[in-house]
């Protein structure tokens, strides 16, 4: 019963959330936009003159920017590929009858709950360290030279670490979606003579399509902002070999104290994230009507 | 007491008028059934009476007192929902007690009423269970129990049997009728099933697109449907409706004859080929084709009658049971 009275009460109840989020969104965003047009360095006090698009020009022409864009794309793309393919495989596997499903599930999901700094540190020291790491030991046993992962292949190493953290997420969501598949559909296809592979390809995979899209979009949003793993393992290096856009903006703003350039980088990051966000929002919005 | 009067009640959602102004009186102690195809506004009408929807115009009176602006709880009505709407986190006892608790009743009065209701509805053994542990029929009874304990002026039922399987439905139908016999409280019952309407009602209200098509006792509606819609809606199998030359012979646009009012006789005026036969044991339904009257004429013959598909049979309508309808679809007296 939506009467006038309850409508007013509803607005009153929603107001705090809306006002807070509006402030959270508009004030810092407006400031970022404003700063991005100023020459503003915390190390150089004085007036901060308006410089138009100079910061953007500086940021975009910086060789580190191109490296960061490429690295960001490689990071996001690589992790998505590993987690989605691995997630589908794991979801199919965990959907099979077996003993100890509960424990297997718990083990597979666990990495997602490990805080990024811990997982970065554990991988960096206990596994990837070229002297004392487990991987070095395995290489030694196999008669190979230990490989210094974070120096020789920093980006790939980070992709590995972050994939480990996000694989459970993809698995869990795809498994949930898989289990919502009507078993009669599978039985019908079995009656129609479909093999196990055909059932996967023609029934299960299309059923998962929606969940896969959701996984891709949500992970992309988070993966564009990978930070702690880079900070802990490589500090973006060597050179800019593992610097992504988020880390570059951080370095500009809080390491070089160049507020203007950092802000310009922030605006670019927002634009990139928004491109993904639009697709994600459409998906979720459609679901809201259903 | 439970006399409900609707005076020019109308309901519109935005620009769409779902119920045009409508008058209706439900007498105290009556079992009234609102029946009609889905989307005819019968549930909306019930919810207007309950107070779960605001009326867009007109007035509702309960026992002569204006109730239009009263909140649902103050109208003294109890409702049984299609989904039963039991509180899943409460035991059966707590579910049934809830309205009494809201009314601030004393502990012993609550206990007395709940125990009585449980006994009437055969729920005594289930009082400590939760709704999730009950079968559909038992949930239904809990929902009714929750309504009974309030001793309301009238009960409102919103398609209460539609979630039950066929056998249970017949049983519950009987139980609700018996309940009405015993309590003699006004009941307003919404259904899309004309069999439920015919078997339970004192008075049937046939609705279409928010309009009342006819109000009357089940047999009134069966014998003298006011128009083609009611004629086609009430009765199972449905009435045969015949247009054209045959109707013109009777000075009508359309004539109607119920399947049970057609006899299979050697010298009947109509003839056709037997199609599908449905043998119910007590009756046999024939679908007769190629009569030149309508696509199919349904005939109901008592007992076990055998005609093979493809046989030609002759039919004779009982002339005194013929219904005549004019150009406007209304009954011609």
């Amino acid at each position: 019963m939506a009467t006038q009275h309850s409508r007013a009460a509803a607005r009153f109840m929603i107001a705090p959330s809306v006002v807070l989020l509006l402030a959270w969104m508009l004030i810092p965003l407006g400031m970022t936009l404003y700063f991005s047009f100023l020459r503003y360095n915390l190390l150089m006090p004085g007036n901060n003159p308006f410089v138009g698009f100079e910061n953007y020009a500086y940021f975009v022409t910086d060789p580190a920017f191109q490296a960061a864009i490429v690295n960001t794309l490689l990071l996001v793309g690589g992790i998505l590929l590993i987690t989605v393919v691995g997630g589908i495989a794991l979801a199919v596997l965990l959907d099979q009858p077996m003993w100890g499903t509960g424990i297997v599930r718990i083990m597979v999901i666990s990495p997602f709950f490990v805080m990024p700094t811990v997982s970065a540190l554990v991988w960096k020291n206990m596994f990837m360290n070229p002297v004392n790491g487990l991987f070095a030991y395995i290489a030694e046993v196999l008669g190979m030279q230990p490989f210094d992962f974070l120096t020789q292949a920093p980006l790939a190493s980070i992709i590995g670490i972050v994939s480990w953290q996000w694989l459970p997420f993809a698995t869990l969501i795809l498994l949930t979606a898989m289990q919502s598949l009507d078993s009669e559909q599978l039985e019908a296809s079995e009656m129609d003579g479909a093999s196990a592979w055909s059932r996967f390809y023609y029934i299960k995979l299309p059923h998962l399509a929606r969940a896969i899209t959701v996984v891709v979009l949500i992970q992309t949003i988070f993966l564009l902002s990978i930070f702690a793993e880079i900070l802990v393992t490589t500090n973006g290096g060597p050179g800019t070999a593992s610097t992504n856009l988020t880390y570059l903006v951080y370095a500009e703003s809080l390491l070089r104290f160049d507020v203007g350039t950092g802000s310009a980088g922030g605006v670019i990051a927002i634009i990139l994230a928004n491109i993904v966000a639009i697709f994600l929002m459409r998906m979720i919005g459609k679901n809201l009507d259903a | 007491m439970g006399r409900i009067t609707l005076d020019k009640v109308r309901k519109a959602f935005g620009d769409t008028e779902v119920i045009p102004p409508l008058d209706l009186t439900i007498e105290d102690g009556e079992f009234v059934v609102f029946v009609g195809p889905s989307g005819c506004g019968k549930s909306t009408l019930l919810r207007l009476i309950a107070g779960l929807e605001d009326v867009s115009g007109g007035e509702i009176r309960i026992d002569g007192k204006p109730a239009t602006d009263l909140p649902p709880a103050k109208r003294g009505l109890a409702m049984v929902f299609q989904s039963y709407a039991l509180y899943p986190h409460m035991t059966v006892r707590k579910n049934i007690t809830f309205p009494l608790k809201m009314a601030g009743m004393s502990e012993e009065e609550k206990k007395r009423r709940v125990d009585h209701a449980a006994e009437v509805l055969n729920l005594t053994d289930y009082l400590d269970r939760r709704p999730g542990q009950l079968s559909g029929g038992q949930r239904q009874r809990v929902a009714i129990g929750r309504a009974i304990v309030r001793e309301p002026a009238a009960f409102l039922f919103d398609e209460p049997l539609s979630n039950l399987d066929a056998a249970l439905r017949v049983g519950m139908r009987l139980e609700i009728s018996e309940l009405h016999e015993r309590l003699k409280t006004t009941m307003v019952y919404v259904t899309h099933d004309q069999v439920e309407a015919m078997t339970m009602a004192d008075k049937i209200v046939v609705l279409r697109a928010g309009n009342i098509e006819q109000v009357g006792s089940p047999l009134d509606l069966y014998r003298t449907p006011r128009n083609l819609f009611v004629a086609g809606f009430i009765g199972s199998p449905t009435m045969n409706l015949i247009d054209g030359a045959e109707a013109a012979k009777h000075d009508a646009r359309t004539i109607g004859i119920r399947p049970e009012h057609i006899d299979v006789v050697g010298d009947g005026p109509w003839q056709g080929k037997v199609g599908v036969s449905e043998h119910l044991g007590s009756d046999t339904f024939f679908h007769v084709h190629e009569t030149g009257l309508a696509d199919i004429i349904t005939v109901r013959a008592p007992g076990e009658v055998n005609h093979r598909a493809g046989d030609t049979i002759r039919l004779s309508p009982q002339m005194d049971k013929l219904h005549r309808f004019g150009q406007d679809g209304l009954r011609i007296a």
Binding site: M1, R11, I14, S17, V18, L21, W24, P28, L29, M31, T32, L93, Q96, P97, M98, V104, S110, P111, F113, V114, M115, P116, V118, L121, V122, N125, M126, N132, L134, E140, L167, L172, I173, T176, R210, V214, I221, L224, F227, L245, Y250, L254, G262, G265, V267, A269, I270, L272, A277, M281, I284 | P72, A73, M79, F81, A85, Y87, P99, R146, R150
Partner: protein, 276 residues
């Protein structure tokens, strides 16, 4: 499918699944095991797996030599605090949107979601400056504010999807039964909403506990939660595997256990109800 699966198939599935699961879980297992070793055993060549002298000494050292407990408390205060405040703001909003939906409800929800899509780095600079000027840098309250705001959309969304599943019929039944708005809320809505609120609480604590952008950038020694404290081990002098493992184990254990319990709700919360 109600058919007997051959024991052989099941055995093969089990073997493959367990192997993969153990591989995935291994880094956590290894960390936990290492935390019970002495520093020497921790870097032994060849590595020892189970047969070593188990010791609790690393846990004791981490407690004594560092301010571990303070950082642990920071984590607790910040994650629980931001969650409670978020719920206090979010419950009424989700409630109103689920039960009194208006024409704008969908738009408001989508817009809230869009704030979550904002990359944190886009507002790093102004937030850092605001925090510096207002004396919020390296304070618990500052982090509570930020984490409340970044997780508020998830809270509202998750609650909204739960509230929307409460059938309207039941609320109407309560109204017919004479419940006032207050008793409707207390006796009917709240008990039915408790599971949803609980899962929202749990997921949000997990997210806040593991948040590692703002906690790293806005704190130093004082208010640093475990995320930032652990990061300090990345400097070379922190290269003591056993102690690192002990600190890590303590940092992830509580959340790991909470996570195991909330894995089902997690899906809904993290996909904004798009996958259930």
């Amino acid at each position: 499918m109600a058919r007997a699966v051959t024991t052989k198939t099941k055995a093969i599935n089990t073997a493959i699944a367990w192997t993969i699961a153990i591989l995935i879980f291994f880094p956590i297992l290894w960390t936990v095991l290492t935390s019970f070793k002495s520093e020497g055993t921790a870097i032994a060549d060849p590595p020892v797996f189970l047969f070593f002298d188990w010791t609790l000494e690393n846990y004791a050292t981490v407690q004594e030599r560092s301010s571990y407990f303070r950082h642990f408390m920071n984590s607790v205060v910040i994650s629980v605090g931001s969650t409670i405040i978020g719920l206090a703001i979010g419950i009424p909003a989700a409630w109103a949107m689920a039960f009194v939906p208006g024409k704008q409800t969908k738009n408001v929800l989508m817009w809230m979601l869009s704030t979550k899509m904002l990359p944190p780095v886009g507002v790093l600079v102004p937030l850092y400056l605001i925090f510096r000027d207002w004396g919020l840098l390296d304070t618990r309250i500052g982090l509570i504010i930020v984490l409340t705001l970044i997780n508020l959309p998830i809270i509202v969304w998750m609650l909204y999807t739960y509230f929307r599943e409460i059938p309207n019929d039941i609320l109407e039944a309560a109204r017919m039964d004479g419940a006032t708005l207050r008793s409707e809320v207390i006796y009917v809505l709240l008990p039915m909403a408790v599971p949803g609120i609980a899962s929202t609480l749990l997921l949000n604590i997990i997210l806040a506990w593991n948040e590692a952008f703002w906690t790293l950038n806005l704190t130093a020694a004082n208010a640093a939660p475990l995320t930032a404290f652990i990061a300090s081990y990345s400097s070379p002098e922190g290269l003591f595997y056993a102690k690192l493992s002990a600190a890590s184990t303590m940092a992830i254990a509580p959340i790991l256990i909470m996570g195991w319990f909330s894995q089902k709700q997690l899906v809904r919360g993290l996909t904004f109800g798009a996958v259930k």
